[in-house]
Point group: C2
Chain length 339, copies 2
């Protein structure tokens, strides 16, 4: 194994004291700039690595933040990660990422790895089937801060960062009602997750407020795959009394469903008006362009990372904020515009 270059090696080669080398590398004003240049060139040449790693160990800090997400290959999650990386990078933190692949069992294993890697804090969005936060209890007991984002669960001393999914679900449905729809189908995901449970509640609220019945037949729980979208379209085509409005809690699935509906002879928005969720790039690329809820993924990532780093730096304790709500926006496009 190659030996690590130390400041003592540099000092010996340059006939300087180790103190001078150390000061020069830390840009101390007492060292003149020629000497600094000489020392820094030699350090580079010898492959010297700053001792951040060891000194972080002494301070019991690793300057790393662990991130656990359901899936990395998701358009929404990639914008969240991009926001987190931007903030973490500027604050000299490293991001360690892992994915649960929607499995609570893998999420537990990931949490354990993060714990043993001694991350300074955690940013987590929960897997589809996670029932409780017991697997994070080692973090809570040690006082290692954790922030939940998007797919959250109430937990003492642990901030949740979300949008108001209930209100967003309500607005999406109310928009369809405003376009004259009277029989609205809702396609959603695992109702164990707040995001889907709340959007469903909002959908029901809007119907009830307009004196319309909530029909089980019109609520579909799916995994939001492309195939799920096509299957829903085929189901709709077989219904004796098909819906005239469709609210899908995912743009990708809404887009594939639209394709399936068209193949089944439905005209959008005339026969059936469609609203998605997230405002993924796809929303502006399908024809007709998809009405959707703009979900601020980049901002969510930035705020989650910044809140955690502020907490770590003692600038703002996350235990004092229970929930951070971000703004969302209903964006009306051609897929639902009927009046």
């Amino acid at each position: 194994m190659e030996k690590e270059t130390t400041i003592y090696d540099i000092a010996r080669l340059l006939n300087l004291s180790p103190a001078t080398v150390s000061r020069a590398l830390n840009d101390h004003p007492a060292i003149n700039s020629n000497t600094k240049q000489l020392i820094s060139n030699k350090a580079l040449e010898m492959g010297y690595r700053s001792n951040t790693f060891a000194s972080n160990l002494r301070r019991q800090q690793t300057k790393t933040i662990g991130v656990i997400v359901p899936r990395l290959d998701s358009s929404f999650m990639s914008t969240v990660l991009s926001g987190m990386e931007k903030v973490a990078n500027e604050a000299n933190y490293n991001l360690i990422i892992s994915q649960s692949l929607e499995s609570s069992r893998k999420e537990m294993a990931n949490a354990k790895t993060m714990f043993n890697s001694r991350v300074d804090g955690l940013l987590v969005s929960l897997a589809a089937d996670t029932d409780n936060l017991e697997h994070f209890s080692t973090f809570f007991r040690k006082g290692i801060p954790m922030i939940l984002f998007d797919r959250v669960m109430p937990q003492k001393n642990c901030t949740n960062i979300v949008i108001d999914n209930l209100k967003a679900g309500y607005e999406a449905t109310a928009h369809l009602l405003g376009q004259g729809c009277r029989r609205i189908m809702h396609v959603t995901g695992s109702v164990k997750r707040n995001v889907y449970a709340d959007r469903l509640k909002g959908y029901k609220m809007a119907l009830l407020e307009h004196g319309l019945p909530v029909e089980d037949e019109l609520i579909r729980l799916t995994d939001f795959t492309r195939q799920d979208g096509l299957d829903v379209a085929d189901e709709i085509a077989r219904m004796p009394s098909p819906p005239d409005g469709l609210f899908v809690a995912s743009d990708l699935c809404a887009a594939s469903c639209m394709g399936g509906l068209r193949k089944n002879g439905f005209s959008i928005p005339k026969d059936i008006a469609v609203v998605g969720f997230n405002d993924d790039p796809i929303a502006q690329l399908v024809e007709p362009n998809l009405t959707t809820i703009h979900y601020p993924g980049q901002e969510m990532g930035e705020i989650a990372a910044q809140s955690l780093i502020n907490h770590l730096n003692g600038l703002l304790r996350i235990s004092t904020t229970n929930t951070i709500l971000l703004n969302y926006e209903l964006i009306v496009r051609e897929s639902s515009r009927r009046v």
Copy 2:
């Protein structure tokens, strides 16, 4: 600062020797299972963290792999990352990720951070304007392995993982020629990057082979944004003799260009046949479905991570393989099917 729980603390509380505790936690056969259970429960209760971190430091390993990509919020890159995470996680490596945002300056800063974080190895896809690999020289001199993927550059002892972009560009263009197109436009990105330069070469080769001229007017260098796609469509509409075929080296940009062409009254594929690149989910969601080159992102991520880990474990030296070529596939859909 809270004191870290050690095996000595656990031993004292249980009236056992530190050696017994250490052996139990490492699942040594000499310790009976009841004792192991007792010790492991106590360790959990006291928030004991395995000393992976410190022992990795002693071994000069961090069990982390650094990943630098141009952008995190890209459909293609998110599938690559998903593949890397899968393999790294199974091999007990952590992934530290950062993005250059297509800037060579930020890529340099990221490289420095990764170096000081003492990653065991690097997986890199280059920024749009990176001219050389000088900023990775500290890694090369220290023998820290690096693998370049997708956007690569030849470098001694450094494996490149790519698809044959020249051949793929040739096939995309030859397919359009086979559909009767005789005036084919190519929309691409920074030709500093192998992926775009090679696809352009393939495009030219196919034209020359069919006795057709290569016209500068028909080659556009863009950033592949949605707006770029719309701009290209408007330009085409203004041309006295518009192209009858279009090969765009990015699906997202191809999809937005198709939307713009339709708004300008072009029928696809009748007036102009379109081929994209990557096989992003969008390709099967736009109408007409987009013909494209299927790029195996998940597999590229898995192979890059596995090759690096094999090298780190002494199973396969990456210096012996210069380039790993992955298979791609031309997938013909409605956007180009004319015969």
